[in-house]
């Protein structure tokens, strides 16, 4: 009789686990499919591929253009993330420390980033900056700027959550009384405490940005070929090959995320 509630607990526990497992299974299906496709010689209208091979990867990783594009993408994404960090972190701090009322407006501003699809704003950007006083189109700089707007919502939200959980006012006051200037207190106290959320947001943004195509193709194209522009330009070659590209950068993000979570522990 006393065991009955015990069993109850186990069933709820089991329920929660099964929900999570089902979720994982469903979500992983497309990823596995891509992986399998990239590893198969040929996979036509059949349930399973005909034969497996590593050729696509070998071919891919020997392609200098791919490596170059990969390098470009990484450089671009890294640059963007650095810019984001340097600009958004102080901004979020200033908002929360000096002008808490601004947060509401920031949230609206952030939502607006979703409102104009890249296909459209790229046309506007093309018209505005192709020529004229700031001819950025065709240079990676314009992409850095656009990527900034893409990453902004994720990073700002993460920082806002972190700062909300932190008693910024008291911590800053305490640091001031202990002789720290505002910048010093920010660097020594606030920054380390929002680092975790920031890192998570940066990695999320990284995977988003690595997959970005519209801006890259419209604004810069081959002048600074990125991974997805490359993917697009070789899309006619083979689905297996493009799957290999996708899996390559997928595994790359997975690896980097894992590494980061390892290191930050």
């Amino acid at each position: 009789m006393q065991n009955k509630p015990q069993k109850n607990l186990n069933t709820t526990q089991r329920y929660h686990r099964s929900v999570v497992f089902t979720f994982m299974t469903v979500m992983i299906f497309p990823v596995l499919a891509t992986l399998l496709y990239s590893l198969s010689q040929r996979w036509g209208a059949t349930v399973l591929p005909d034969s497996l091979t590593f050729d696509w990867y070998l071919q891919l990783w020997q392609d200098a253009r791919f490596l170059h594009a990969f390098g470009n993408s990484l450089l671009l994404v890294l640059g963007t993330l650095v810019l984001c960090t340097v600009v958004i972190v102080p901004t979020a701090f200033v908002v929360f420390y000096y002008f808490p009322k601004l947060d509401r407006w920031m949230n609206i501003l952030i939502l607006m980033q979703f409102a104009v699809p890249p296909v459209v704003s790229s046309v506007g950007l093309l018209q505005l900056y192709a020529d004229g006083p700031i001819p950025m189109v065709g240079t990676p700089w314009v992409l850095v700027g656009c990527y900034f707007t893409i990453a902004l919502p994720f990073i700002y939200r993460a920082l806002a959550t972190g700062l909300q959980g932190l008693n910024v006012r008291d911590l800053m006051d305490a640091a001031h009384l202990l002789g720290a200037s505002t910048p010093a207190a920010f660097l020594a106290i606030i920054l380390p405490n929002i680092r975790k959320g920031l890192m998570a947001a940066l990695f999320l943004s990284m995977s988003f940005l690595l997959g970005e195509f519209v801006f890259a193709n419209m604004l810069v194209g081959s002048r600074f070929e990125t991974l997805n522009v490359y993917l697009y330009s070789v899309r006619g070659t083979s689905g297996h090959f493009t799957s290999a590209i996708v899996m390559s950068y997928f595994l790359f993000t997975l690896f980097v995320t894992w590494l980061a979570s390892r290191l930050s522990r």
Binding site: A45, S233, G239
Partner: protein, 327 residues
């Protein structure tokens, strides 16, 4: 006359950037390789649609990133009207039929394609030979981006021509596809290489050079390519040189090369039909082509003005007359 000066100037520029001329389209690959090898001019391509190319020329003005582009024939006059093109007549100019070139040299069609069927042999027992076969089959038909892509629009025109319509009148085509849609056999997908390879496309409609090219990449035995015998349409692709090109001479030289014998043979090897009929094709290039007999009912687009007007309505008509029947 000034070929030597042109070559010298082009070599000095040392590079040429193209828009919408990727390696896997009509065998541009060989042309680029040969230009690089012969003149030491390096090349980069940025693949995009015709409209994007024109838009990019227009937007970038003097900060031009593309020197030369390859657009559907209809876009040649548009680009010229917008004042975005640089005129250049290659030495082989007189060999190009009048319908395929701008008299001032702002654009010139280098090759043509004809609407064709591509059928997956495994999924389709009796590959269609003419449009009526499509209606009788049990397979799904993929047309591509109707209303957006010139290729898909041309498929509609091909049906219309076969069924008694014209550039002005696509009604027969809409009826035809509506019938397919009612049967639940109109697939909403674009017949790309990857989808052909995956076996998602049972029968696709596309330019012959595209169909043959994709078949060659994927698997020669997997597909059957044929021109609809009861009527099809041919259309050309024209090169335009950017008026603001950073490398105008290299671009001119590129056009020169494309219209040279070697360039035209390259296109033929890419399954495209070269515009110059006086080029002697090597046997391997000839072998790649479909039998000439299949082309007997294929007609070129004649009334460009009407066709341009019609294309603007296609997207809407397609949704209203065809997609409504889709199950």
């Amino acid at each position: 006359q000034d070929m030597t000066t042109l070559i010298a100037a082009a070599k000095k520029e040392g590079t040429v950037n193209s828009l919408g001329m990727p390696n896997d389209w009509a065998n541009w690959k060989d042309t680029w390789a040969q230009i690089t090898q012969k003149y030491g001019i390096t090349h980069m391509d940025n693949d995009m649609s015709s409209a994007q190319e024109v838009a990019k020329f227009e937007a970038e003005k003097t900060n031009a990133s593309g020197d030369i582009g390859d657009v559907g024939q209809a876009f040649g006059p548009i680009a010229k009207k917008k004042g975005l093109t640089l005129a250049y007549k290659p030495t082989t100019w007189k060999d190009i039929p009048a319908w395929a070139k701008d008299e001032e040299g702002h654009w010139a069609v280098a090759y043509t394609g004809t609407m064709a069927f591509i059928s997956n042999n495994k999924l389709v027992k009796n590959p269609p030979k003419n449009w009526d076969d499509l209606l009788k089959g049990t397979y799904k038909v993929s047309v591509g981006e109707v209303g957006v892509a010139a290729q898909a629009n041309s498929a509609l025109l091909a049906v219309a021509i076969a069924k008694g319509g014209s550039e002005k009148n696509l009604e027969p085509a809409y009826k035809f596809f509506a019938e397919l849609a009612k049967q639940g056999r109109l697939a909403n997908i674009d017949p790309t290489t990857a989808l052909l390879e995956k076996g998602e496309v049972e029968v696709g409609l596309m330019w012959d050079f595209n169909a043959l090219g994709k078949r060659a990449i994927i698997d020669q035995k997997m597909f059957t390519v044929s021109i609809p015998l009861d009527g099809s349409v041919s259309a050309g692709y024209a090169t335009i040189i950017n008026k603001f090109a950073k490398n105008p001479n290299a671009a001119k030289l590129t056009r020169e090369y494309i219209f040279s014998d070697a360039g035209q043979i390259n296109l033929a090897r890419g399954y495209a039909r070269p515009i110059r009929s006086n080029v002697v094709l090597p046997q391997d290039a000839k072998d790649k082509m479909l039998p000439v007999a299949e082309y007997k009912n294929a007609k070129p687009i004649e009334d460009f003005a009407a066709w341009e007007a019609t294309t603007k309505t296609i997207a809407r008509q397609w949704q209203e007359q065809v997609m409504v029947y889709k199950k």
